[in-house]
């Protein structure tokens, strides 16, 4: 099982590789090369930081075109993590309106500060549907690690699982072979490791 982490220079790759190794996936590489991405069995789109900067880099490396082909046409399974999950959406209002990859019909906006501290940092519960592949074997309202100031909302049907922080937002989506998690499974102890295992084995 060949897992490739999409390389556009952003995201804590070390932790993701460590987690994949721990659950027994040792064939992990990091690349922005079209052929390498195309030959992967699974893709992971990581990310921490600025949406706009990420999209600029992704476009410069032609990764938007590559991923459109590999993910949308070839239907390669992909898991977006944190910013990666947001990038696959339509757009984000971070800094100014920036277009995303558009794989998922949802938009990213800032938490309205109101009565909660921003960024949303720490472990929080996600209301999961154990029928979904991502959450197979996980039930109840498991905790995952969040750290973000912007979040995805959507009124479309994304097989989303919600987290409530100053209002409900999309903690994860799963549309066939395209999945995204706002939280960091590689930083979420046992729950996160199980989710990663599920992505590798079931999507």
């Amino acid at each position: 099982m060949k897992t490739v982490i999409v390389d556009y220079g952003m995201g804590n790759i070390q932790s993701i590789i460590g987690a994949l190794h721990y659950i027994g996936n040792t064939d992990v590489s990091v690349s922005s090369d079209y052929e390498v991405l195309r030959k992967a069995d699974k893709l992971i789109l990581p990310g921490v930081g600025s949406f706009a900067k990420a999209m600029t880099t992704i476009q410069e490396k032609k990764l938007d075109q590559y991923l459109k082909t590999i993910v949308l046409e070839d239907e390669k399974p992909i898991l977006g993590i944190c910013l990666g999950m947001q990038l696959m959406g339509l757009s984000s209002t971070e800094e100014s309106d920036t277009m995303g990859l558009g794989f998922v019909p949802a938009e990213v906006t800032k938490f309205s500060s109101g009565n909660v501290k921003v960024p949303h940092v720490g472990f929080n519960q996600v209301k999961v549907n154990a029928d979904l592949n991502l959450y197979h074997g996980i039930s109840g309202d498991p905790d995952f690690y969040f750290t973000h100031s912007f979040r995805m909302c959507s009124d479309k049907y994304l097989n989303q699982s919600l987290c409530d922080y100053g209002g409900e937002f999309v903690a994860s989506y799963e549309l066939g072979h395209i999945a995204g998690v706002q939280f960091h499974p590689e930083l979420s102890q046992y729950n996160g490791l199980t989710l990663l295992q599920n992505f590798i084995e079931r999507l």
């Binding site: 720490g122 979420s188 102890q189």
Partner: protein, 247 residues
């Protein structure tokens, strides 16, 4: 390093930590780790980043690393070594421009602002540079300054309580908490699980930190976590993946 009022006693290296605390097992009862380079000599960022990499082997919670970050390259190295966040202290005062650059580059959620203070004549004063240099700013004003830098979290540490095991400086925390909009981590003085619980029960405190591992040897941390959850505080209910720690 064992610290009391910022006087340091060397306790052991990373391998010692692993041997005496079966650290990877302990990590399963924690939420996050903060690793600070407290060495007093010219802080060797390369060695420190290697220690961070080693520490994070098989640890699947966020790690914040800091201590002596003075330049962009220091931050880059720590992030590349596996840190999820960096902790800034003296830099918040000494080089505001660099702090702003770091926040812009890595996002505010990647930056923890560490603030050390001590009470003199009833007034809280802020110290930087390993608690040596006193700033001419009140704690309140300094907190405002730090907040304006758009950091992700504030790590507030009482030098007076540090290492004493007598409990957090609840008086100051309760006074200052309204001024802190960012998530607040309190530190300095935790000696037992009661202290952790008292800290977590303060509204507007997001997290409690302890560095005094001697107060929490063996099963103490997992037990503390269990008791805190039982008393109603909403912590993630981790179950230990491996067998119970025995020490």
């Amino acid at each position: 390093m064992q610290s009391r009022n910022f006087r340091l006693q060397k306790v052991g290296d990373v391998a010692w930590l692993e041997k005496n605390y079966q650290f990877q097992k302990i990590a399963f009862s924690l939420d996050e780790l903060i690793v600070l380079n407290a060495s007093r000599d010219a802080k060797s960022m390369v060695e420190f980043s290697q220690a961070v990499s080693q520490l994070m082997q098989d640890v699947f919670i966020p790690i914040a690393a800091g201590g002596g970050i003075r330049a962009m390259e220091d931050a880059e190295l720590l992030f590349k070594s596996g840190a999820d966040k960096i902790v800034l202290n003296s830099l918040l005062f000494n080089d505001v421009q660099l702090v702003e650059k770091l926040v812009k580059q890595y996002g505010s959620q990647s930056i923890v602002a560490s603030v050390d203070y001590k009470k003199t004549n009833g007034i809280n004063e802020v110290f930087i540079e390993d608690g040596v240099t006193k700033l001419d700013l009140s704690l309140e004003d300094y907190i405002q300054h730090v907040e304006n830098l758009n950091v992700g979290e504030v790590y507030l540490n009482s030098i007076d309580q540090d290492g004493t095991g007598f409990g957090y400086d609840l008086e100051t925390i309760n006074q200052i908490k309204k001024a802190i909009k960012a998530p607040l981590i309190i530190a300095g003085g935790a000696g037992n699980e009661r202290h952790l619980l008292d800290g977590l029960n303060i509204d507007k405190v997001s997290a409690v930190a302890t560095a005094n591992l001697f107060n929490f040897m063996g099963n103490a941390l997992p037990n503390a976590r269990k008791d805190i959850i039982q008393s109603g505080v909403s912590l993630a209910p981790w179950k230990l993946m491996q067998e119970e720690v025995s020490c």
